[in-house]
Symmetry: C2
Subunit: 378 residues, 2 copies
């Protein structure tokens, strides 16, 4: 089966090697990891495990940083449903970047994106999820003093004019090939990428100086930045750099991308322990053997075991512990049911803590929007 | 020569009969004029002279009005240069409509439009003209208590979301055929018509009830409203009605449209008497005969005489006086030079008064923007 990766659709068994070539991004090699470590003092497990595996201009961003030219981070979330743990992955890494590099984060909530791309979605539904999504993002722990939230429709009096500047340099034929749009696509969806480009240079406008931008994101978002990288220098700004991750596998198998609309493939931040247990026991694709006896003899295959992969991607940051799980499973010492129990415990603890933070987030919302109250554009 | 009329280009000798058929608009007939007169008590000379000659759903708008369902007016100006007298024509008529029907006017300044459609135009240049254009509009005399100004980029936090709703129902292939855009058109220009549609239903949103909309405009803007008339009912609003005028002829001849970028074709509101005299004496296309002797004998042709046409379109509201000028010219009694003198005197007086009002307009600007300070959208 052919795989397909666009910002709006991920399908088939993804060949990341092929994707790297097709998109024209660079793989993160060990030399680059050493360089990050020399600044941050340690490597996040998502870097050690090559979950963040590709980039554009990361070397340049680090060089500028070492020269004292600090970058800012830019990532985002298009609200249209509840947050699942696959969404949290790049945000947790982004928080690590913010802490280690001590930099600003601009977080965009493009509340029009899914509205424009999903046939039956109404703004009312988007709004229903917007505030809840915001609370999930705050719960990740971004520094309110250094983090600014942008809501596209709400802050359009700053964004739209800048998006027009970008849009003037992007033709329909360019978005057609980059995003797989057609003559039957609606004109809002055609314009949209210009809105997504704006946060990559908005801080440069507000502070009236060129500031490098680093965007951590899942690799399916690359087409947006590929386009804006071509355009921004023409407007006098730096090309945004990026650092890109692969997709947390859906519960149902280690290919494709978790989908908020297919409920059995994902664990939501709102799921309670009972739901988590049920989902993982019922749906988590197993790399184990059909019988306990056979499993003890032949061992399991952690590479295709979703529970193991979730531990690797998100819930077991300790390499030693993860390695032990890997070998115990591979040698048949650890059964699938036991692996699932480990994961259930980890996720439940993680989400309990996440939801405690989410409850407290409510009273802090305004802090993330203060930038807008006091800023006006030149 | 083929003529061409789009919102961004008017070329060739316009055949208005053909245009009416091509655009699918209705001509304003005497029955409709009677109906207007029965409400307003008199007819504006631009109606009597069929300068406003076409419409969409004007009958319906008048019926609703008579039932007590008042419409609002919507027109606009895309700033990119100084105001010439051709711009003033539909606005003067709009003021008359506002006074006679006692209705609200929403006046849009789409400051991104010309930026998106003119290759080398920068936002800085647009902004230079924006405030001056606003003063010209105020000088026309719109009631500040009943007139609201919209600047697209400044008020985008209200407009953009509504434009997204419209845009979701308009495909690229629709704008391609309506506006003559291509795959090489920029994505901002493709999206733009959605922004122009918003003021046609924004008052309905702000007041949370369906309000009929009447848009007075030159016929080249019809494609925008043709599209939005199809879309607005799907969002639960009325189709905007329109009343459309032909173009004030450029100085250089009675075909085509006055252009702000071809200075010799237009008289600007900023032109002083000396400049006006020079332009009209030098450029105003004459329907007169080569020699005075011949003119006295054969008479002139007022139909192609630009000075006469300007009197007819704008500067001689008195039908009796205009008729006398017509016959005096046609019979050779009135010479081209004398016709030009009449026009120069009329324009100079008109613009003197206009500029007095423009000077006073400055202190009133804020009144036209008060709607935005107090409104927030549901």
């Amino acid at each position: 089966m052919q795989f397909k990766v666009t910002p709006w659709e991920v399908r088939g068994k993804i060949n990341y090697e092929k994707l790297v070539k097709e998109f024209g991004v660079q793989k993160i090699d060990n030399k680059l990891l050493d360089k990050i470590e020399s600044i941050t003092g340690e490597l996040h497990f998502m870097l050690r495990r090559k979950i963040f595996f590709a980039h554009r201009d990361l070397n340049w961003i680090l060089n500028e940083y070492e020269k004292g030219n600090k970058f800012f981070l830019y990532t985002g979330r298009a609200p249209s449903g509840p947050i699942h743990i696959g969404h949290l992955l790049p945000w947790m890494f982004t928080k690590w970047l913010q802490d280690k590099f001590d930099v600003e984060l601009w977080f965009q909530f493009p509340d029009e994106e899914k509205f424009l791309f999903k046939k039956n979605l109404k703004f009312e539904e988007v709004e229903k999820y917007l505030e809840d999504n915001i609370l999930d993002v705050i719960a990740v722990g971004f520094d309110p003093e250094k983090t600014n939230f942008i809501i596209d429709t709400k802050h359009a009096s700053l964004l739209y004019k800048q998006a027009c500047k970008i849009s003037k340099r992007i033709t329909f034929s360019m978005v057609k090939s980059s995003f797989g749009l057609s003559e039957q696509s609606n004109i809002g969806s055609i314009f949209y990428t210009a809105m997504q480009a704006v946060p990559a240079f908005l801080p440069s406008i507000l502070k009236n100086k060129k500031i490098p931008c680093l965007t951590p994101h899942a690799i399916d978002q690359d087409p947006h930045f590929r386009l804006s990288r071509d355009m921004l220098p023409k407007l006098g700004y730096y090309k945004p750099a990026s650092i890109q991750c692969s997709f947390l596998p859906p519960l149902t198998g280690v290919s494709g991308k978790m989908s908020a609309s297919e409920k059995e493939t994902a664990v939501y931040t709102t799921d309670d322990e009972k739901t988590i247990r049920k989902k993982i026991m019922k749906y988590a694709f197993s790399g184990g053997q059909p019988t306990v006896e056979e499993h003890r003899k032949k061992g399991g295959i952690p590479e295709i075991d979703v529970s193991y992969q979730w531990l690797r991607y998100l819930f077991e940051p300790d390499d030693k512990k993860l390695e032990k799980i890997y070998y115990d499973y591979k040698t048949g010492k650890l059964l699938t049911g036991e692996m699932k129990e480990i994961l259930i415990k980890k996720i439940s603890e993680f989400l309990k803590e996440h939801n405690d933070k989410k409850k407290k987030a409510k009273k802090n919302i305004n802090k993330y929007f203060e930038w807008f109250n006091f800023k006006s554009l030149p």
